[in-house]
């Protein structure tokens, strides 16, 4: 009996070790450990054995059963480990992810939003106003006399009744001041129109952002401060800026602001016309004639104003070389912002 068990064990272990797949392991399990399997046979044949052999044989048979159970389990595991990964639901992680793309704000909107945010944090209020305007708001109240060459810079589209499409957002200075009393900190952005033939750098419709502050004892140094905060935050800490005297009818003193070219860092390139400087905005101290138009006390109040072209700023910021791209709205363009 003892020998028989040991022989079965030897044979079974060899078979298990030789099993090639899960199916063979299963067949071996049924053959040896099944209800009518080899081990079951041994156990049932114990009753026929000599009584003095029985305890020993019983122990051996049980030990065989345990040994085979364990070996089959181990074999099964080993086979599982060795099985091809695909069988375990392995994926090709290099397949592209399923797109669930966000949309995008238009780059001009983004530029307006970013600039606005900088001034909103300085306590400015954001307002909007009409694009269809009168001569009064677009010119007269802003100290731009009729039939004066200073109007050449503000060529204008007219509609019936002498009304016009605003050629600048400075109209908002008058609209706000007519309704409110100082102190004021205002920014206003929106579309403006000028009859310029369209090319890579001109458009008959574009966007401007106007800002102004009115209070007692406002200084040019503070105007510099406000724009300094804007330039450093929007274009970066390393950017240099300079204020160049200029002329605008609605400010006095007036200035244009240049920043060191962000493309060539001031060395001179095609974007800055080899000058190393980029003009980004116009500004100045509000001309007392403008305050007179809105009946502000010019002895008590003064202020500053600035205006910038959004397309130009966006083109510089993003390195866009053609203004028409903003209005063509090609999806491949829009998606980049």
């Amino acid at each position: 009996m003892k020998d028989k068990i040991s022989e079965i064990e030897k044979e079974a272990l060899a078979a298990i070790s030789g099993a090639a797949d899960a199916k063979s392991v299963n067949e071996l399990r049924i053959k040896y450990l099944g209800r009518n399997g080899v081990v079951a046979d041994i156990l049932s044949s114990l009753s026929k054995a000599a009584p003095e052999e029985r305890p020993e044989a019983g122990r051996l048979a049980n030990s065989l059963k345990n040994r085979l159970t364990e070996e089959l389990r181990l074999k099964e595991e080993a086979l599982k480990k060795a099985a091809p990964l695909e069988a375990k639901g392995k994926i090709d992680i290099t397949l592209p992810g399923i797109k669930n793309e966000l949309g995008s704000r238009h780059p001009l909107t983004k530029t307006i939003d970013e600039i606005s945010e900088i001034f909103l944090r300085q306590g400015y209020n954001l307002v909007e106003g009409p694009e269809i305007e009168t001569e009064y708001y677009n010119f007269e109240a802003l100290n731009i006399p009729l039939e004066h060459p200073s109007r050449d810079a503000f060529d204008t589209f007219y509609i019936k009744g002498g009304h016009l499409l605003r050629s600048q957002t400075s109209t908002m200075q008058i609209r706000v001041m007519e309704k409110r009393k100082p102190p004021l900190r205002i920014i206003a952005a929106g579309k403006v129109y000028r009859p310029d033939a369209v090319d890579a750098s001109h458009s008959f419709m574009f966007h401007q952002l106007e800002g102004f502050l009115v209070d007692e004892k406002v200084s040019f140094a503070e105007l510099k401060g406000a724009l300094y905060l804007f330039v450093k935050e929007f274009f970066g800490e390393d950017v240099k800026m300079r204020f160049r005297p200029h002329y605008f009818p609605f400010t006095e003193p007036s200035a244009e602001v240049d920043i060191s070219c962000i493309i060539c860092e001031g060395k001179g390139c095609s974007v800055c016309g080899r000058k190393g400087w980029l003009e980004i905005l116009g500004c100045g101290m509000v001309n007392p004639n403008v305050f007179k138009a809105v009946r502000y006390d010019t002895k008590k109040y003064n202020g500053y104003a600035f205006g910038l072209g959004i397309e130009r700023i966006a083109m510089l910021k993003y390195g866009i070389n053609d203004i028409r791209l903003f209005f063509e709205n090609d999806l491949r363009f829009l998606r980049q912002f």
Binding site: N125, I132, K179, P183, K191, A221, A226, F243, N329
Partner: protein, 696 residues
């Protein structure tokens, strides 16, 4: 304005290199946009602002150079004739042999404030000297002959336009400054035959116009090789009238450019003398002693009071009083001490100065803007408001929420032109009522303000499709413009457009955008805005196909529409793909949005779900089943979700299957199956009864 470096050196001892000088000028407000090496000289291209006609001259720029370099302007050099330095300077007072008759009459005193005329006899018209030609060419002026070149030379030097007539061609030796009579004509120097009218100021002789005042001379009376006696004109023509004429005639010249901006009234005679001197010198003529100077009284320059303290306060730095005074004097101002400051009188060539801030700018400019410190203004003692309503403005918070929501849903914002070709409205069958048209459009394509953004959106879609961007989810939040009761109105509208595939990947089935994708976008938008009472009602439109067209209502107010764009309309834009479009009035979104959020406790008791599948006629609205479920289920029904629709072999033709999942829950206790079964079966019978439905 082109300014040769060497010419400036005639008037100022400049030690700065051209590049350095250009930098200094730029920082003083005379922006040097380029320096060009030309005929052995360095020529500055200076951008002169419209308030500074005095900078449209070499002397004017030289004065500035002197001021910023702390040098003196050497006017004696200006009068010295360059041709033959050794000769006597001025022969204008010399008596000539013949005194030709000369009468000058200013009939239009509004158009001409001063007219200086003089005759120079016996000139020999030839080429001008080489040095003069070189300077003219450096400044972009083509040499003609010595007389004409001298007038141009003095124009550049003094900023005073001059004109030389061939005296022999002037009938009666008379000059009359007057308005043209209707239908009078003149042939200008450029050969153009120009018809005149009373808007145009002319110089006439006894019979007819001989020059367009301040703009251009006439061909007949121009100085030619045969000219012997020259009438030299130096005048002050009114800026506005010159500008009007020049615009009307479509002719801008170096002369009109200066008159429009205002020449120096006091400089009219000086320039005339300078030119006469040069003519005598170079062309060998003899100046007549008779100089006729007709002038009106021009108001003297206003005295402006300047408080140096105010200058410092406005600029935000300390410039000593004496320094302020010195700067103003260097620019030609007369400065007198007065109580608490200075009485400042501007020179005649500075008509742009009328307020103390004008003087403050002069001081700051020359002192240097870069010396003004950077200061951060104290914070405003007022709560900054994100947005405050001013005329025509819209609510920025709602605007941001709309954009954030749409961008979050994967839509790309577009911005299109507000100007359109009005023809397109016709082609689309859209009403053109209230259309606002431009009086001076650039082209037909941009002739009118848009009444609707639909044409713009469709053309953007068309362009994208042409460029193989086939799957598009776009929106624009922009204005539309119209006239109502004689007043122009601007309303903000939201446009959304979908076309192409909604998913185009390896995992999901490729499906096109449908009406319901758009409806879902709008529903999510209304949800984000906290807008209640919004419904979609079937409504036909000229824009949409009959099968897929609806209006969007908020309670009883129509706030927009949604639908699938008609084939005929798409055809106008060469679009072959289906386009789903929605338009919503932004005003309604702003007005009816409710951004308050109130937390509701999470359910404490479990819910039970039951499905119900019904078969109804194809024309039945699924919403009627939903409302019956809600009505019959009462408080217990917390949610009804349509999870399937079906038509096909298992259902008779003309019918469709709808499957709903209903969530039952009681907020105060745990529901048991039996209760739910009872309610659910009530709902079933109600649907069968009300809709003639069958249960699947």
């Amino acid at each position: 304005m082109k300014v040769p470096y060497s010419w400036l050196k005639d008037y100022v001892d400049i030690t700065l290199e051209p590049k350095e000088l250009a930098e200094r000028l730029t920082m003083a407000g005379l922006e040097v946009v380029s320096i060009e090496e030309k005929l052995g000289d360095q020529v500055f291209e200076i951008e002169v602002t419209s308030n500074r006609p005095d900078w449209l001259s070499i002397i004017g720029v030289a004065r500035e150079v002197a001021a910023i370099c702390g040098r003196k302007l050497k006017m004696q050099n200006a009068l010295a004739c360059q041709a033959q330095p050794g000769q006597a300077k001025c022969k204008t007072q010399e008596k000539s042999g013949k005194d030709l008759p000369l009468s000058i009459k200013i009939e239009d005193k509004e158009g001409c404030l001063r007219y200086v005329g003089r005759v120079i006899n016996d000139v020999k018209v030839a080429s001008s000297p080489e040095w003069m030609q070189k300077r003219l060419e450096a400044c972009g002026i083509r040499p003609v002959n010595n007389v004409v070149d001298i007038t141009n030379y003095v124009l550049l030097e003094y900023g005073q336009p001059l004109h030389a007539f061939d005296y022999a061609k002037l009938a009666g030796g008379r000059i009359v400054v007057r308005r043209a009579v209707k239908d009078e004509e003149i042939t200008a120097i450029d050969g153009r035959r120009i018809k005149l009218d009373s808007d145009v100021l002319v110089i006439a002789d006894e019979k007819k116009p001989v020059a367009l005042a301040g703009i251009m001379g006439g061909l007949e009376s121009e100085v030619t090789g045969t000219t012997k006696d020259v009438l030299l004109e130096s005048a002050y023509f009114d800026p506005v009238i010159t500008r009007r004429s020049s615009k009307k005639l479509g002719t801008g010249t170096d002369s009109s450019y200066r008159f429009e901006r205002g020449v120096d009234f006091e400089g009219v005679l000086t320039a005339s003398e300078r030119a006469a001197e040069l003519i005598v010198e170079i062309c060998g003529g003899v100046a007549s002693s008779k100089v006729v100077d007709c002038k009106e009284v021009v108001p003297k320059s206003k005295k402006v009071f300047l408080a140096p303290k105010k200058a410092n306060d406005v600029l935000g730095l300390r410039i000593p009083e004496e320094k302020q005074k010195a700067i103003l004097k260097s620019l030609g101002f007369t400065v007198k001490k007065s109580k608490g400051g200075f009485d400042v009188t501007a020179p005649s060539f500075r008509r742009d100065v009328s307020l103390d801030v004008d003087l403050i700018e002069e001081i700051a400019r020359v002192f240097g803007y870069d010396k003004i410190p950077v200061e951060i203004a104290a914070t405003l003692n007022e709560r900054p408001v994100r947005h405050k309503e001013i005329e025509g403005s819209k609510d920025k918070i709602v605007e941001d929420l709309v954009k954030d929501t749409l961008v979050g849903l994967g839509l790309n914002e577009i911005i299109t032109y507000s100007l359109i070709n009005p023809k397109i409205l016709n082609n689309l069958g859209l009403a053109a009522e209230g259309l606002i048209e431009l009086q001076n459009p650039l082209s037909e394509e941009q002739k009118a303000m848009r009444l609707s953004i639909v044409p713009s959106v469709l053309s953007i879609i068309s362009r994208n499709i042409n460029r193989k961007n086939l799957n598009l989810k776009l929106f624009e939040l922009g204005r539309v413009y119209y006239r109502e009761a004689e007043a122009e109105r601007e309303d903000v509208h939201l446009y959304i457009a979908l076309t192409g595939l909604k998913c185009d990947d390896w995992q999901r089935k490729k499906t096109n955008f449908t009406f319901f994708d758009m409806k879902g976008i709008l529903e999510e938008l209304f949800k984000q805005l906290g807008m209640e009472g919004v419904s979609f009602k079937e409504e036909s439109s000229t824009l949409f196909s009959e099968a897929q067209s609806a209006a969007v209502y908020r309670n009883d107010e129509a706030i927009g529409y949604i639908g699938s764009v008609k084939k005929e309309v798409l055809h106008e834009f060469d679009i072959e793909h289906e386009v789903i479009l929605a338009e919503i009035e932004f005003g309604a979104l702003a007005k009816h949005s409710n951004l308050k959020r109130c937390f509701r406790g999470l359910p404490k008791y479990p819910s039970i779900n039951r499905d119900i599948s019904i078969v109804v006629p194809v024309g039945a609205a699924s919403a009627s089943a939903t409302s019956i479920i809600k009505e019959k289920g009462g408080d217990l029904v917390k949610n009804v979700r349509l999870f399937d629709t079906y038509t096909g072999s298992q259902i008779p033709a003309g019918f469709k299957g709808l499957s709903f999942s209903i969530e039952y829950r009681d907020d105060s206790r745990t529901l048991v199956d039996e209760e739910v079964d009872a309610v659910h079966s009530n709902i079933k019978s109600a649907i069968i009864e009300a809709l003639g439905a069958k249960i699947r």
